[in-house]
Subunit: 515 residues, 2 copies
């Protein structure tokens, strides 16, 4: 057995059974091991941003890491932006990055680079394999680090000679998965006292407390204490829809957050930090919590926030039943030209139960959340790190993790073009993903931001580098060129029909919405 | 005047007049300054790998840096792989990377990352702007660092508050461009003595000695001394074609290099290092120079190799005229199915004078150099750092730098898909680029490498992650989807006709070659 086989075997034994990859020469033994060792599903991405974004989507939905396999520093670099997003989502990912043979590094061959430095800014843990025989133990540590808690990116650099070097299979330890820490009872007591003070309070949530169990507990706490219940603007995964607890989302712009927090005297943090502005702007605040608001931490990201919320609900005497939930509501369909509003209404009307939504809709998707709030229960995945090009890969990975669920990917044209290669992987793997491209032919947010940063009349050059016209992108052709069926909607009726059909049929397809 | 305007003004005054960009909110003042300050041409890329690869192509052909403008760490990260290639090409590039306002960093907002760490592995110089008033001086230093010699990547991180902060225009120093060092006379004398020894010698070249003047001098040295004349396998820019000095290129695989160097007793390095294997392989050598071969350095990369070669030629008494040059030769066109050979013959038959070729043809292009050697004088740009996805962006940048020259981009399907977004920029800027895609539906080099790393019968999974079939990519649709006219060739006749037409007409087009 060689080192690569030993690594694949260890990963499979540790429950890592999906490998997203764009490999190169230094990874060929690992690639070969995919056949000689049973149990690992390889998925090819044509660009590493697809590989890492899909690993993020997979991690969010599977609750366990996929492996990535990338080619030295430049391959990793191509995947870095979506690893940045994944880091902000606390997604568990195990990166395997091939490197030159240890004895070859002295030569500074063309592909050599400082892989550790490239990996460090996005990784919770970076380790270079030191010997073929240590690989099983290294894999155990790498996978454990990915699990966290909270989930994190764990990068294992595998020099080629250790990949092809002989090793005994060796005993593979079982996964040393750490449990979340329990929140101390006196913290619960203290927060309960705060919430019983009668002063206006806000609960702010992030992380896996946004799955149904934690959310229900948070809803009970909010209802019994009369607190506002919010989640961060961009969270990893939010379980929502008809029959689930109501939660609001902090607005994107800081002024909106200030508005929502006006008068709040107690901010209770559950797995998150006090809200800050996404960007700084001249003469606008970055810190958004009111000055006279006290900040309290119920749980840190590595603590069991769900358990804490349950204990807090009980402590406050919140009834176990009777929580006011999202009512079922399917919006009326629109007619006329297709618009942001008509797409949002159709999404709400047709989104199937258990759907997974990857949302990189930017300025075009502001009505989506409102109109889908009463759709059957579903999961919503957000652009966590602000780096566009997450949406299509994320949907790809979510579909790999959840083959029995419909995945819907709402994406702006600008973001879609960053990692458009994801469509090919969706076609190859026949993933059940419906991609909706909002084609407004501009980086919409930037044209909004001109005003906010104090630029009143942007000139022709400024407009040119924030516009996607000249030439217009044809997403039907782009999609078909990668093997994904595609249609275009210019009227609401067309979109309604296409989207309904997509929700009722399996397989990858794309709908280009001409706004 | 604000900091961003001060920076654009300084760059323009220093001769940097092209800005390749994919901007975001933190760069909006810089974007606005493109209109308020005269003289900077902005070029939008839909993905940062296009931005940086185009800056590389621009730098190689213009002999001066373009600026890039990218959005915080993740934007830079997306451009990193082609910066890796540019670093290996010693291309001059000035990266401007926007960052959060200095006072906003304390909040660790979603897009925050360690920009310096991401920039360092590819940059010769990284600097964070400390105050708006220092920007002109910072620009002078940044541009000077990009010039080198040798050329290098100079990254300037611009916090948003310094971008919008008021500053006096301030005096802008003129460019402090360092001259290459002169090679010492006794080095020339020493190398002349070595080459007069009568023992087999090889001259190995890299860098701007591969432009016509240096190459001619090297040819004279080789001819008078009976030495072999080679360049590295992957060089930034090689001037070649009919009427230019003959030079061979070291083969890609180490065994081939060993073969070419067999019996060589003196290796003379001109701006390069002794050759090493691109990758390490089990039981194959990494160091390729024969054990009994003496290594001599004529010039380092920061020295004037051309001047040294001229002095060496004179010292050896090489005649100034009468050097044996590439004869003019236009190959016969092929008929039958389109093949690597038929494409190469057509390239040789129709390549126009002064063409610029961006070569990322991989395994499909091995006959191109042979068949174009007798075409009219032209420039050939290679994939310098081994990270695929360079070819299309590089062609884009070369065309921006040389609007009056035909640019031809030969690219494998795998490499093309990494940065396919480059086609859109070619369409928008109406660049005179003909892209030829070798569609063999595989990562050809990897399927060759299986055997070389000892994998005799790759299994279905290994074949799957090295194959681009299922589904087949349709480059015609991809290209038209981004506004570039496209055709497909399945016969040699079709390709010959399409390529001839492309060489005789201006504007971007793509030819998909079905191998």
């Amino acid at each position: 057995m060689n080192g690569a086989e030993s690594l694949v075997k260890a990963l499979v034994n540790l429950g890592v059974d999906t490998c997203l990859t764009n490999p190169g020469t230094s990874e060929m033994h690992f690639v070969n091991a995919l056949d000689s060792v049973e149990g690992m599903r390889p998925v090819l991405g044509l660009f590493e941003g697809v590989v890492t974004g899909a690993a993020d989507g997979y991690g969010r939905m599977a609750g366990k890491p996929a492996a990535t396999l990338m080619h030295l520093g430049p391959g990793l670099a191509n995947g870095l932006a979506n690893l940045h997003n994944a880091r902000r989502a606390n997604s568990p990912i195990v990166n395997i990055v091939g490197d030159h043979a240890t004895y070859h590094r002295q030569y500074d061959a063309p592909l050599q680079s400082d892989i550790v430095s490239i990996a460090r800014p996005v990784s919770g843990r970076v380790q270079t394999v030191k010997s073929a025989s240590s690989i099983p133990a290294d894999a155990v540590e790498a996978v454990a680090a990915a699990y966290g808690p909270p989930g994190s990116i764990s990068t294992l650099i595998l020099p080629a000679d250790l990949s092809w070097g002989d090793t005994d299979a060796g005993p593979i330890d079982s996964l040393k998965k750490k449990a979340s820490k329990t929140v101390a009872a006196d913290t619960i007591t203290r927060i309960a006292k705060v919430l019983s003070s009668g002063k206006p309070a806000m609960l702010l949530l992030r992380g896996d407390v946004l799955l149904e169990e934690g959310l229900t507990a948070a809803g009970r706490v909010a209802e019994v204490s009369g607190s506002k219940l919010f989640c961060d603007t961009f969270v990893s995964r939010l379980q929502r829809g008809a029959g689930r607890a109501k939660i609001s989302r902090l607005p994107y712009f800081g002024e909106g957050v200030v508005d929502k927090m006006a008068g709040i005297k107690h901010l209770i943090l559950v797995g998150t930090k006090p809200p800050v502005s996404f960007f700084a702007y001249p003469d606008k605040p970055g810190w958004l919590t009111p000055e006279d608001c006290d900040i309290h931490i119920l749980s840190e990201p590595d603590e069991d926030g769900t358990q804490a919320l349950l204990a807090l609900a009980d402590k406050l005497g919140a009834p176990a039943e009777g929580l006011s939930l999202y009512p079922e509501r399917r919006p009326e369909l629109h007619t006329g030209p297709v618009t942001q509003a008509s797409v949002a209404a159709a999404a709400g009307a047709f989104l199937p139960e258990n759907a997974v939504v990857s949302d990189e809709s930017g300025t075009s998707g502001i009505l989506l959340l409102k109109e889908t709030a009463g759709a059957p229960p579903h999961d919503w995945l957000f652009l966590t790190g602000g780096s566009i090009g997450q949406g299509l890969p994320l949907a790809t990975g979510a579909a790999l993790a959840c083959p029995d669920r419909k995945v819907v990917s709402f994406c702006g044209d600008g973001g879609a073009m960053q990692t458009i290669q994801a469509l090919w992987t969706q076609a190859r793997e026949n993933l059940d993903v419906t991609t909706v491209i909002f084609s407004n032919r501009r980086y919409g947010i930037l044209q909004v931001e001109f005003n906010r940063v104090g630029v009143i009349n942007p000139g022709p050059k400024a407009l040119s580098v924030t516009s996607l016209d000249n030439p217009e992108l044809d997403f039907q052709q782009l999609s078909r060129g990668m093997g994904v069926q595609a249609d275009r909607a210019t009227t609401a009726d067309e979109f309604n029909r296409l989207f309904e059909s997509a929700m009722n049929n399996r397989g990858p397809r794309l709908i280009e919405v001409i706004l």
